[in-house]
């Protein structure tokens, strides 16, 4: 993925700072709690939510099961409609293709619709290296780009910023990129939106090349779908002469009719709306309406490796709604940056270590960045059992085993730093397999209970730094049971 994230520290280290940042905590708490209640209300409005969720899951599972067939069908349909299809095995290849296409137009700037796939591959940096400037046009992406920041949320990349911070960024940075912020700009959201409208308008009107992702690609028709709110998507998709869409291969749905499921579940799950303000659907090119050249770049970049994993492949059902982020207590406190990926939150914790592998410190720590509370699974509109995949990936990290990397089967060694834990788990299993040993340990603990401290040194501080230990009882239950016996002669 993007070079921005290379060398990220492990999740607990990054989260340590975030937890202590009271502004960030306040911003995230406010935003996630606002959307949580709204999402619940938007979902409760639909009496057949469970059926829609199940249909969504099945559509995606079926597509993934026959992905080769549907990708070929996409290629045929898009080509027949006047588009050109490119295939990219990894980020570098996708960047090379897009950069080449932009250069061929002779343009040195592009306008971009918010797209997770292009963030994932670090497209803006790749374009910059070739002298092409990419303007992000989604409001939150603009905030991130102007603030030289990193995205921290799938839907709202600037969720970590409050309105006052956004005003300050607009005031100080807009002039470097084009039209400056209006005089006397306040932090009223309507004024901030107006500032973005004015700043970006000149860019939209002169743009010759637009770059997007897509929420869905319909195999039978070759139709691409972009779901958005602001109208920046419509601008980028219709005004330029050339449109380049970079789309992960898992975005395919088989039929036109399948959209009836996702166009109901996606808006309610993401922005908690019955329907988002704008959805654009286009099939190839059309005379005198919209771009005259359309390129679709189909991106693998770790997706086929994920597909090869029996348990982990369900992560590819994701429609990027971000409901799991909004409901996650860990995300709310650690913030998106701690996940060291463009995909933060629970879905990021299972997606990043699969797309990138578990070799880096951050990727090996992500499967543990969850209390397994299950709130993410409950809200997921395509029923991804995120806790199940997290535990599965913990196993991969702790024990190693078979995995697929760049299309090849490999046997992973256990990650470093888990040797002591492995030994402890083994020892615990040994003791728990022998009730006598367990009882011996319990008795020893009870006999020495007056000597037990309520705080611990060394690694034990991870618990007792913030919490007291419970006192050890005078006798374990099993001794009481035998002594009384079975509670019948309980003299205490």
């Amino acid at each position: 993925m993007s070079a921005t994230f290379v060398g990220m520290p492990a999740f607990p280290v990054a989260a340590h700072e975030a937890v202590a940042d009271t502004t960030l905590r306040g911003n995230l708490r406010h935003a996630t709690h606002t959307i949580r209640a709204k999402r619940a209300a938007a979902v409760a409005e639909v009496s057949d939510w469970a059926q829609l969720r199940e249909a969504g899951r099945r559509i995606k599972d079926h597509t993934l099961r026959h992905l080769d067939r549907y990708l070929v069908q996409v290629e045929e349909a898009v080509t027949a409609a006047g588009g050109t299809v490119h295939w990219a095995a990894d980020a570098e290849e996708a960047n090379r293709i897009v950069t080449g296409l932009v250069k061929a137009t002779g343009e040195s700037e592009v306008v971009k619709v918010k797209s997770m796939a292009t963030q994932e591959i670090g497209l803006n940096e790749a374009l910059e290296a070739e002298g092409i400037r990419a303007y992000e046009t989604d409001l939150a992406e603009l905030i991130v780009q102007l603030g030289k920041d990193r995205p921290s949320h799938i839907l709202v990349p600037a969720i970590h910023r409050n309105r006052a911070e956004i005003r300050d960024i607009f005031r100080s940075e807009m002039s470097r990129w084009g039209r400056p912020a209006p005089e006397g700009l306040t932090d009223a959201p309507a004024e901030l939106a107006e500032a973005a409208r004015l700043h970006l308008r000149e860019k939209f009107l002169r743009a010759k090349v637009g770059i997007s992702g897509a929420n869905f690609v319909v195999a039978e028709t070759g139709t691409l779908v972009v779901v958005e709110s602001e109208g920046n998507g419509r601008m980028c998709l219709t005004l330029p002469e050339t449109l380049i869409s970079v789309v992960g291969i898992e975005k395919v749905v088989p039929t036109w009719r399948d959209l009836e499921v996702f166009l109901q579940t996606l808006p309610r799950s993401s922005t908690a709306e019955r329907m988002n303000p704008y959805t654009s659907m286009w099939t190839g090119t059309r005379d005198e309406d919209g771009p005259s050249a359309f390129h679709l770049v189909l991106l693998d970049n770790g997706r086929t490796d994920t597909l090869a994993d029996e348990v982990g492949r369900q992560a590819l059902r994701c429609i990027r709604c971000s409901a799991c982020l909004n409901v996650c207590p860990v995300y709310e406190r650690a913030g998106g940056h701690a996940y060291g990926s463009v995909y933060p939150g629970p879905i990021g914790a299972i997606l990043s270590p699969q797309l990138r592998g578990t070799a880096s410190e951050i990727d090996a720590s992500l499967p543990y960045a969850s209390s397994l509370c299950g709130a993410c699974y409950e809200v997921c509109p395509v029923a991804i059992d995120i806790p199940e995949v997290l535990v599965h990936l913990r196993e991969r990290v702790a024990q190693g085993g078979e995995a697929t990397r760049q299309g090849n089967k490999v046997v992973l060694k256990p990650a470093r730093g888990h040797a002591a834990e492995r030994a402890a788990m083994r020892a615990a299993r040994w003791a728990f397999s022998r009730p006598g040993v367990l009882r011996g340990g319990q008795r020893l603990a009870s006999l020495t209970r007056r000597l037990h401290p309520r705080t611990l040194p060394g690694p034990g501080r991870a618990w007792t730094g913030t919490r007291d230990l419970p006192p050890v009882p005078a006798e374990p239950f099993r001794d009481w049971w035998q002594r009384t016996p079975g509670g019948k002669e309980d003299a205490k």
Partner: protein, 251 residues
């Protein structure tokens, strides 16, 4: 009915009062309870930390020890969910790894007859008023595995509402995780502690003196946080509240 108490290793070692309360409560309701001495640990910590293969022998032992009973009752939402949700998954994974269906077959019998305590009371015994007396203001935290794993729903609430003298007050953000999460508590101590502190603050805002839950692992974390923050509140397992009577009140 031959009913076995699956107490869990944490309760056995650290919270014997909870075990005694379950025995008292079930005996009062006319249930004969046995505590199979061969029981140790269900393997949840191993499984959830990524050591599924280390958890397998513990699951086999569980099936062996408890297989002969008609019902297995546990005062722990998370250990109950381990057996009910994850044992079948463990079996299926073993099969997928080409190890046949032995594990699946061995574990299958204990899965449907394992009940979390409040489920057993409401669904099997069909009682919500267990004749308890507990004159305190109480707020209830539904633990994640009980709530979302086992789907306990309003069973604990109905039981608590029927307790004489008990004033049940709503916990703000009740359904949010307390931050324990097993080894999560030590692998991500900062986030875990922040979640725990928020849970305690929400609990304190209710004015209740007691925070009640159905899982001592979560209560160990919440209680340890309360104690460190100097909160006046106490964590109490729901079994101890339901076991309390006017004749023999719990403190």
């Amino acid at each position: 009915m031959r009913v076995a108490l699956f107490l869990t290793c944490v309760n056995d070692t650290l919270y014997p009062d909870t075990g005694r309360a379950v025995v008292r409560l079930l005996t009062r309701l006319g249930v004969e309870v046995d505590f199979p001495q061969g029981q140790t640990c269900c393997g949840q910590a191993h499984y959830n930390t990524g050591y599924r293969h280390e958890a397998e022998p513990l699951a086999r032992r569980f099936a062996e020890v408890f297989g002969g009973y008609e019902a297995i009752v546990t005062p722990s939402g998370s250990c109950g969910a381990m057996v009910r949700e994850l044992y079948p998954r463990m079996g299926a994974r073993a099969r997928a790894e080409g190890r046949g269906n032995t594990l699946e077959r061995v574990l299958a019998p204990v899965v449907p007859k394992t009940y979390e305590l409040t489920e057993f009371l409401v669904d099997v015994l069909g009682v919500t008023d267990v004749g308890a007396y507990y004159p305190h203001r109480v707020t209830y935290h539904p633990t994640c595995h009980g709530l979302r794993g086992l789907g306990l729903g309003d069973r604990p609430r109905r039981l608590l509402e029927a307790v004489k003298g008990l004033e049940l007050v709503e916990l703000p953000g009740a359904e949010e995780c307390c931050g324990f999460g097993g080894t999560f508590a030590v692998k991500n101590p900062d986030v875990s502690a922040a979640m725990g502190a928020d849970k305690v603050r929400n609990a304190e805002s209710t004015g209740a003196g007691v925070l009640c839950a159905g899982d001592n692992s979560c209560l160990m974390h919440i209680g340890g946080t309360m104690s460190r923050l100097g909160s006046g509140m106490r964590p109490v397992h729901i079994a101890e509240i339901l076991a309390s009577t006017e004749e023999e009140p719990a403190v």
